[in-house]
């Protein structure tokens, strides 16, 4: 009996629903609340809100607004850092101990005072949890065994960190500015720590509050996390106890929106204030709309084509140089990456310490032919390139295929899923590969140690840097990369990286193509939105609405 009634009930509900929908005739211009910033943003990469666990771009942005670190990047000159929690710092004469003096009267969003002990404990939990960002501290020789001795609160407002080698202070400070290394409210987290018997997978018998911090925040930034619903929304509330300048808006909502076209429609309708994933077509439309505006910022990701040195043709220096002349940088810049990137030919992204702004290459088929002839390849050769099946890399590969053919180089494109091409690349089974490299932290070492260091080029080599993946055996460059890491003087250090970039530009097995630009479309009433060089410096505190 119930069965027979069901369809009728459905019809009736539907009828009523349709009537309601149709009666709602007048197009009401939906507006976001005046005290709330609503961003349309693809946030499906977020796995956790725990700063010691999350290392994804989107989460980094949220964490950068919710937590604060000892220092942060100076947005006016991003090759430098300024104190955030720290008022000042000193480096011991042996270059091993960094002593930070905290600002007075720091408090967490919970109202608990923020002390050096909280920061020491934050370091400890990050190292002991051993999640993705732990390597940031591991590279200073901090391990689960020694972290409590090496990172110590000398008094409530003084923190001492001892590293294992006399690294360049600029390197240590740049890493300290990364959002995972931030102050976590120990008093607030401690009651939420889950303990378990010590085992192989749980070495310390504690989750250090990871389970709780996945969906809660315990920070001291201008905002606090109200809610994160995976693939749906992240909601931030203003932290009224923030020690710095108060955020202008009471709330920020990041809504998960994957579609560029959808973001554009919602931006135009006023349902979102900021559109974060606009593709070139929609970007053009937003630019043309007088009621909307666009802000851009070069980010730390560079795209490159690499040449595996295991391939005898690609191992010839003339061939590598010839290939660099066979890329039509101008055309790619004007079309394929318009609005989402700028042509960039060195491996350090613009804005990082020591970045070299040199663009010696342009499409030059004659020159490439000469170089190929001098390498004994007058008639060209055939070579494959592994490309992940997404834009803009597919388009770039096709453009390269066409321009290379002009000099007789036949490029076969092998498309594949991202993880698939990456697996092949990591096994060094490719000829050529189009890759992207995003800096892990805003310091030249992040890119240098992968582009120019290759400690063990054997197939058994454990450190699979990009140089290793392309079988580029460069002991001399590896040593220079190391030396740059230990150079105390920031200016000299910058020079060392410029030299490295020049060498890679001339002889390296990579043709750097462009640096990614981040673009955000904003509503006309949004003021003060400024994108930083990294995702965790996209601060929303200064944003206001008219």
């Amino acid at each position: 009996m119930i069965v027979q009634r069901l369809p009728r009930l459905g019809l009736r509900t539907l009828g009523a629903a349709l009537c309601l929908a149709l009666s709602y005739g007048a197009p009401a211009l939906a507006k976001t609340p005046a005290d709330t910033l609503v961003e349309g943003f693809a946030i499906d990469d977020i796995i956790s809100m725990d700063p010691a666990e999350s290392f994804e771009l989107t989460a980094g942005e949220v964490l950068g607004n919710v937590y604060s670190s000892l220092v942060h990047l100076d947005l006016d000159d991003t090759s430098k850092v300024v104190g955030e929690l720290a008022e000042s710092w000193t480096v011991s004469d042996d270059g091993l101990t960094f002593t930070f003096k905290l600002k007075p009267r720091l408090v967490f969003a919970s109202g608990n005072p923020l002390t050096a002990d909280d920061i020491a404990w934050s370091f400890e939990r990050m190292v002991k949890l051993d999640k993705s960002p732990a390597f940031l501290l591991n590279q200073f020789g901090l391990t689960g065994e020694n972290v409590t001795q090496k990172v110590k609160a000398l008094d409530p407002s003084t923190l001492a960190i001892t590293v294992d080698q006399p690294y360049a202070p600029s390197f240590v400070l740049n890493v300290m500015a990364a959002s995972p290394i931030s102050a976590v409210d120990r008093k607030l987290v401690e009651p939420n720590i889950k303990t378990a018997p010590v085992s192989d997978t749980n070495k310390y018998g504690s989750d250090f509050g990871n389970g709780w911090l996945k969906t809660n925040s315990a920070g001291s930034g201008p905002f606090k996390l109200r809610q994160w619903r995976a693939n749906e929304a992240v909601v931030l509330d203003r932290n009224d106890k923030y020690f710095g300048p108060q955020a202008k808006l009471a709330r920020v909502v990041y809504r998960h929106m994957k579609e560029s076209a959808g973001q554009r429609l919602a931006l135009e309708a006023g349902d979102i204030d900021v559109a974060r994933n606009l593709e070139p077509g929609d970007l053009t439309a937003v630019l043309a709309n007088p009621k909307l505006a666009v802000v851009t910022k070069p980010k730390g990701t560079v795209y490159y084509i690499s040449f595996n040195q295991k391939n005898p043709n690609l191992a010839k220096p003339e061939v590598r140089e010839a290939l660099k002349y066979l890329i039509d940088y101008d055309a790619i810049g004007a079309t394929l990456i318009k609005g989402i990137g700028e042509v960039h030919q060195t491996f350090l992204p613009e804005g990082v310490l020591g970045a070299l702004d040199a663009k010696p290459y342009k499409l030059d088929v004659e020159k490439a032919k000469e170089l190929l002839a001098s390498a004994g390849l007058k008639d060209g050769f055939t070579v494959t390139i592994d490309v992940r099946n997404t834009q803009p890399v597919t388009g770039i590969a096709e453009a390269f295929q066409q321009s290379a053919a002009k000099a007789g180089v036949k490029v076969e494109i092998i498309p594949g899923d991202g993880k698939q091409t990456l697996t092949k690349y990591r096994a060094r089974n490719h000829d050529m590969y189009i890759g992207q490299w995003g800096s892990d932290y805003w310091d030249p070492n992040s890119n240098a140690e992968t582009f120019t260091a290759n400690p063990d080029n054997s197939d058994a080599g454990k450190i699979k840097t990009l140089a290793w993946r392309n079988a580029w055996d460069v002991p001399e460059l590896t040593a220079r990369t190391r030396a740059a890491l230990l150079e105390k003087d920031a200016d000299k250090r910058a020079d060392l990286y410029r030299e490295l970039q020049k060498d890679v530009l001339e002889t390296g097995p990579y043709a750097l193509i462009f640096q990614q630009t981040e673009v955000a479309g904003i509503g006309g009433n949004v003021e003060g939105l400024r994108l930083g060089p990294t995702f965790d410096t996209n601060y929303v505190g200064p944003v206001s609405k008219k």
Partner: protein, 357 residues
């Protein structure tokens, strides 16, 4: 009582046989379910292992040190022989543990519990719309066979069949959202209610109505109506076509002639007699299209920022998150089997010939 049914009840008069028959049926059903499940498990598992992607990459990303890579490989049991991995997996799956999603780091079951309600809500409303419009349209087309109405219904169905859903989705967004402002976008609920409304079941519309939050319910409705209508349109295309053909079949039967001869009104003949009989196979059609929608419509979910199952599984697939893919596939498999069972039951309720049993 028809003769066959009488015969059945005669042979079933012995108590043992009467007990055995449903039990046998149950065992057979369980066997079918078990085999289907095992097959599903095996196929998805081996596809997951055969693809040339290193699952450790999915867990740790590209930057992890070699030692961590080895440790995780061991933790995931990836260094065991394939058949051992499979046995291990089946054993875990049987105890309801699909492992942890590497993408979200949550238990796969928790993730599914979160995303599935969103899809259920959308699919249910979509099916209601599809059925509510599709059945009458199909009946109309059958009754006015060959007329202009029939042609129009056919074109509506054809468009629903052949137009890519993401295109239609974007187009409808442009019209109903951007131009007319009739519906809300994006997501499931407006920013104004983002923080005040808590959903207990994950079915926002029901929860809002249950809690008496009329404003929220209205807002949720404005969010869901467009994607649901789109899905409804697509199931309408299928349902109306099938309804038409079932109805044509029924309208050609002798009992219709008899009913006409008896002097029944045409409306009564069509709606109470012909449709009543056409409804029996129609239930299967509707159930199947409902099951299809429950799988989650990836494209619709993407365009409308709908955090549902389809999006979850696709996302997991693209990231080689095999635990999540396998878990999701099994849930879909279970849903399919469940819905088939349900339509079987409905079939029995609707078909008078099976009533006596």
């Amino acid at each position: 009582m028809s003769p066959t049914v009488a015969a059945a009840s005669r042979t079933g008069s012995r108590p043992a046989a009467r007990l055995w028959r449903p039990l046998l049926g149950l065992i057979r059903f369980a066997a079918v379910v078990a085999t289907t499940f095992l097959g599903l498990l095996a196929v998805t598992f081996f596809i997951g292992r055969v693809i040339p992607v290193d699952p450790v990459l999915a867990v740790l990303g590209d930057r992890a040190p070699a030692s961590a890579m080895e440790r995780v490989r061991e933790e995931m049991g990836l260094n065991l022989p394939l058949w051992q991995q499979f046995v291990l997996y089946v054993r875990q799956a049987l105890s309801g543990d699909f492992g942890t999603s590497v993408l979200t780091t949550n238990a796969v079951m928790d993730d599914i519990r979160r995303v599935f309600p969103a899809t259920i809500e959308l699919a249910t409303l979509g099916t209601l719309i599809g059925t509510g419009l599709g059945v009458p349209l199909g009946v109309l087309a059958a009754v006015k066979r060959g007329s202009l109405t029939d042609q129009i219904v056919r074109v509506i169905g054809l468009v629903g069949y052949s137009v890519p859903i993401f295109w239609l989705a974007l187009l409808s967004l442009l019209i109903f959202y951007a131009r007319l402002g009739w519906v809300a976008y994006p997501g499931r609920i407006g920013v104004a209610f983002e923080y005040s409304f808590t959903s207990t079941t994950g079915l926002y519309l029901l929860d809002a109505l249950w809690q008496g939050e009329w404003e929220v319910a209205w807002d949720v409705f404005r969010h869901i109506i467009l994607p649901a209508s789109l899905l409804g349109y697509f199931s309408l295309a299928y349902i109306s076509r099938m309804t038409r053909s079932f109805m044509l079949n029924e309208l050609g039967q002798e009992y219709i002639v008899a009913a006409r001869a008896k002097g029944l009104s045409e409306a009564r003949i069509i709606w109470c007699h012909a449709l009543r009989n056409a409804a029996v196979p129609l239930v299967t059609v509707i159930a199947l299209s409902y099951a299809n929608l429950l799988e989650g419509s990836v494209l619709t979910e993407t365009v409308f920022s709908w955090p549902g199952l389809g999006l979850y599984i696709t996302n997991s697939l693209q990231n080689a998150d095999m635990n999540a893919v396998l878990g999701g596939t099994l849930v879909i498999g279970a849903t399919f089997i469940g819905i088939n069972l349900l339509s079987d039951l409905l079939y029995r309720l609707l078909d008078p010939r099976t009533h006596a049993r």
